[in-house]
């Protein structure tokens, strides 16, 4: 029998044919980050203690989503390569109760014009947050979750189009 403690960290890695700065902007700049995946713009105040807020789209609100969808705080910001933040999902009572989780974005230049993006989500003691970010076809058409978001981020940066149109 193996003796081990269960880690509750989820790691997502993707390679994108775009320069590091462009990927950074697509994540942190609301002019860009509302144009793929859920199409909900994210506001970042990129300094330690700065606020992070994702507002729902009118379509999401029509389905009962709260106006403020996700919130958190910036812990570390080293543009354009590293961002550490807290992340709290406000869309269900269960995820609200689990409170703030920790999210780390790492952007590395694989070679000129190609970025390796690694998103590490520490979901310790937050099983509902973990489930909702793993992606579940029953909860969201297209699966949702980080893998789906990052897939669409790649498509958006490489083709200028979101899978979601």
């Amino acid at each position: 029998m193996t003796i081990s403690t269960q880690t509750t960290v989820k790691v997502h890695r993707i390679y994108i044919n775009a320069p590091v700065q462009k990927v950074w902007d697509a994540i942190t700049d609301p002019a860009w980050n509302g144009r793929y995946a859920y199409h909900a713009p994210s506001q970042y105040d990129l300094r330690p203690g700065g606020l992070y807020a994702v507002r729902s789209t009118p379509e999401m609100q029509a389905h009962g989503a709260p106006e403020l969808l996700i919130d958190g705080e910036v812990i570390e910001s080293e543009p354009p390569t590293r961002l550490v933040q807290t992340w709290r999902a406000l869309f269900t009572p269960e995820t609200v109760a689990e409170g703030f989780t920790r999210l780390t974005w790492e952007l590395d230049e694989e070679r000129p014009g190609v970025t390796r993006l690694t998103v590490t989500h520490d979901v310790e003691n937050a099983p509902n947050v973990a489930a909702s970010t793993t992606g579940d076809a029953k909860l969201h058409e297209g699966g949702g979750g980080w893998a789906w978001i990052l897939s669409d981020l790649k498509t958006f940066l490489e083709t200028g189009q979101s899978i979601q149109g």
Binding site: K10, V11, Y15, E110, T118, W146, S151, I163
Partner: protein, 107 residues
Amino acid sequence: MVHDDDLVFKALADPTRRFLLDALFTRDGRTLTELESELDMTRFGVMKHLRVLEDAGLVVTRRSGREKLHFLNPVPIRLIHDRWIDKFTAHQVAALTDLKNTLEDTQ
């Protein structure tokens, strides 16, 4: 290593490697020793399989103190889903819809 569909398909075309992915899906962030204990295979054999999975981007490793932890990275499978499976399943659904319309029209 830049993501490559061929590497992902090759990595998935082996029952031991699919077993390792399932094991990580059940419980993520495991050491080689932990993974090895679930397989009737030498340490070297498990290492070779993990290497193939890592090269395909399906496993990402992280150092934690003296330990190297293995994490399942679902993104390459998602990319294949979005680029291939969606296309074909969408077609199937469309074909069924066409069939339904045809059958209903002939009634």
